[in-house]
Point group: C2
Chain length 482, copies 2
Amino acid sequence: MFKDIKLCEDRPYYLQIKDYVKELILKGVYIKDDKLPSTRELSLILDVSRNTVIEAYKYLEDEGFIKNIPNKGAFVSYNSIIYDEGFNVKWEDKITDYAILSDELDTYKHDIKWKKGMISFKSISPDDNLFDMDDFKKSFLNILSTEERKILNYGYARGYKPLIDYLLKYMENKGVNIKNKDILITNGFTEGFDITLSALTKRGDRVICENPTHNTSIKIMNLHGLYIDGVKLNEDGIDTNILKDKLAESKAKLVFLVPSYHNPTGIVMSPEKRIEVYNIIKEFNVPVIEDGFNEELRYSGSHIAPLSAFCGSGNGVIYIGSFSKILFPGLRIGWILADKELINYLESIKRSRNIHTSFLDQAVLYEYLRGGNFEKYINKVRKVYKERYEFIVYCIKKYIPYKKLYGEGGLHVFLELDGINSRDVLSEAFKKGVIFTPGDIFYTDGGGENALRIGFSRVDIKDIEKGIKILGDIIKNMRKGD
Amino acid sequence: MFKDIKLCEDRPYYLQIKDYVKELILKGVYIKDDKLPSTRELSLILDVSRNTVIEAYKYLEDEGFIKNIPNKGAFVSYNSIIYDEGFNVKWEDKITDYAILSDELDTYKHDIKWKKGMISFKSISPDDNLFDMDDFKKSFLNILSTEERKILNYGYARGYKPLIDYLLKYMENKGVNIKNKDILITNGFTEGFDITLSALTKRGDRVICENPTHNTSIKIMNLHGLYIDGVKLNEDGIDTNILKDKLAESKAKLVFLVPSYHNPTGIVMSPEKRIEVYNIIKEFNVPVIEDGFNEELRYSGSHIAPLSAFCGSGNGVIYIGSFSKILFPGLRIGWILADKELINYLESIKRSRNIHTSFLDQAVLYEYLRGGNFEKYINKVRKVYKERYEFIVYCIKKYIPYKKLYGEGGLHVFLELDGINSRDVLSEAFKKGVIFTPGDIFYTDGGGENALRIGFSRVDIKDIEKGIKILGDIIKNMRKGD
């Protein structure tokens, strides 16, 4: 006993000794009323100071495992329980269809996994080498010194007030009329979308969206049991004739749109098209969820107002924004901007799901934004991503025989191949150390078998050329094989 | 123009000027192709350096609102949109029953609100004056220097690996057999409970729990459309005869229990009773959700193993733990410890709800725990809360004529009055600046009208006596009035 304990450096010794003794008690090596070695004795065996053992024994008493009796020593006070092994549940009999579907639709689990050394065009998450860690650290220390312990206690479901006010102003600066509107802070876009669907849809309801569209959104709509009615995209975005027909056909509950840097195609809907789309949804009076995805990553041209700006003081557009797509995704902060009345419902749903989003994260992010770090950051990353974007377009044109290339910025482009199945390309590419996202997962109708999404946010210039060339060679070879 | 701009100190000047000019453009004061004042001119008007204006114009160009033409000046490039006012949706026609129920059951919205200067026995959240801010800050700086930017990018739904490993060991140290079990990190208990119900119950299913029980749990079960079947509590916890009868009656989907510092009564289920309860649920083979609520706040006596320890390598108990009830609730970190197979499903549900819990928060919390700060903190707060607990019990006995007093530790006690309605007491108390939680919100069957929960975690000794005396006087007066 005590011979096999190995004290490591990354946790205080007294806690390691505490845990070790506790283990002996829990395993029944020491039983109730047994005397433990004296602190002097144990300090010699373990070659630590006597105070370290005294500290360990103090915590063992604190946690109710031993009793220190003055002048007598330490005695086990815990009555070890006899473990039963018989209570086993068969989960397959207990699990809901919802849980099974969640697992089935969880592409993260079933996708080809990135391995060290591979070139991955799969990710569209930001390159963390571009994060300003010093600015982030400063924001943390600043907010901790002004807000102190308050931000570590319970907050409000609605969110951290200064951040909400900042974002209201931020949305106003995109041209949105914020009168009678409010903001709910969420754990990223995903939660914002999930909560909004819970408030506005029931199983079997019909939702109209672009086809293809964001695969996570498809997953969430499927989990809500919705009938997903996709509208074909033309080169400049959603086909408005089809949109109109679908809306006329039968009442839809919602329209879901990604007007900027559409995921997966990267198409940016023009201001003219936005007006056209806006007029259609207004005519049919169907609420729209607008995903403000990567709106900040415009590399050229004028600012384009979000759809929610077009309805002025009207309330029909629900805007879901998120910084976490371009900045600190690990923090999970997004927001819903919508009519006050709707936000009031969404707030209660949010509270019933997880009380509120981390106030520490909200406060640090607020402080970071307040100080102008976001503008500085965006200015920097726009240049880097623009360079990668232009270079990958150049490489694709040079190396890959494709049918159509979509994407006007953002962190990804979308390719349509000519009669070649992108999953076949992926299995070959995987062998050669290159991965990407096959297009089919973005389609609402089983299409997209010839498409692929190529994310470039985390691939450097050298690897972009190398990876695209590998893809090009595979595709050329396949065409020859025809 | 530019006369009404007031530059404040808490945001860089160039950003305030940028926002101001943007506003003028969005409002149509400046329209497309208009020339802005020169940087020299504007710097004189605003009494700032010329560089400040140059910086502001740079960002305006960055964001696509103006175009800087060398030697000519800055011109508006954004085409202001004409706002439409006509797209208005009637939310009352669109909102789901689920959203309406969320709002109705949201006690936070409908409860009597605390006002400055009041003595509040409503809260059972930790006293943030007891948080070790220096240790927290050190943990943040440490983890940022070891993990760096990684913890700010996307993480895994399951959670931050070092934290998961730490918690597995932590649960083992409570006597739990972790073989074939795993952990999912959640945004506090609330999310853990919500996700688990989604995986294991459908609308109309029957769940057995203690009566009274935690009001947030009642809310969540109601939102899941469950039939909540409460089992009467005796002075030592759940009535095992009734529990047995209810399980025999018809198949329940789940049993939900709060064995330690039961909310609202504060009862701690004895080891003997735990064995008895364990044997009953095992006999009927119904999975149990165990809420590990405030387990750490044992003020005297031996460690009591959680129910999940009793089933050894069996898989029937799902343990939901949370530090956020006693430490940093603002961070929203909890965990589910359960069979690996079940955790695999819960992981996918978690991913579909909000991708993952903040990795920054998880990493900081891990670093805080690793360094032994939690043991140090608990050791400190136990003394403070124990003192408050003992003092409030003393005061209640001295001032309040009650029928029964429950509570063996934790951060609250529970009182049953003799034929006096606690909501009547509350309206009188409110006028005198004292609030508490009326007992009825904890009951599954409309009971509890004579009960009140008194939280003392954030009330100092002086106010405890003052507040309890006020309650006592009100209750005595009401008895006289009978």
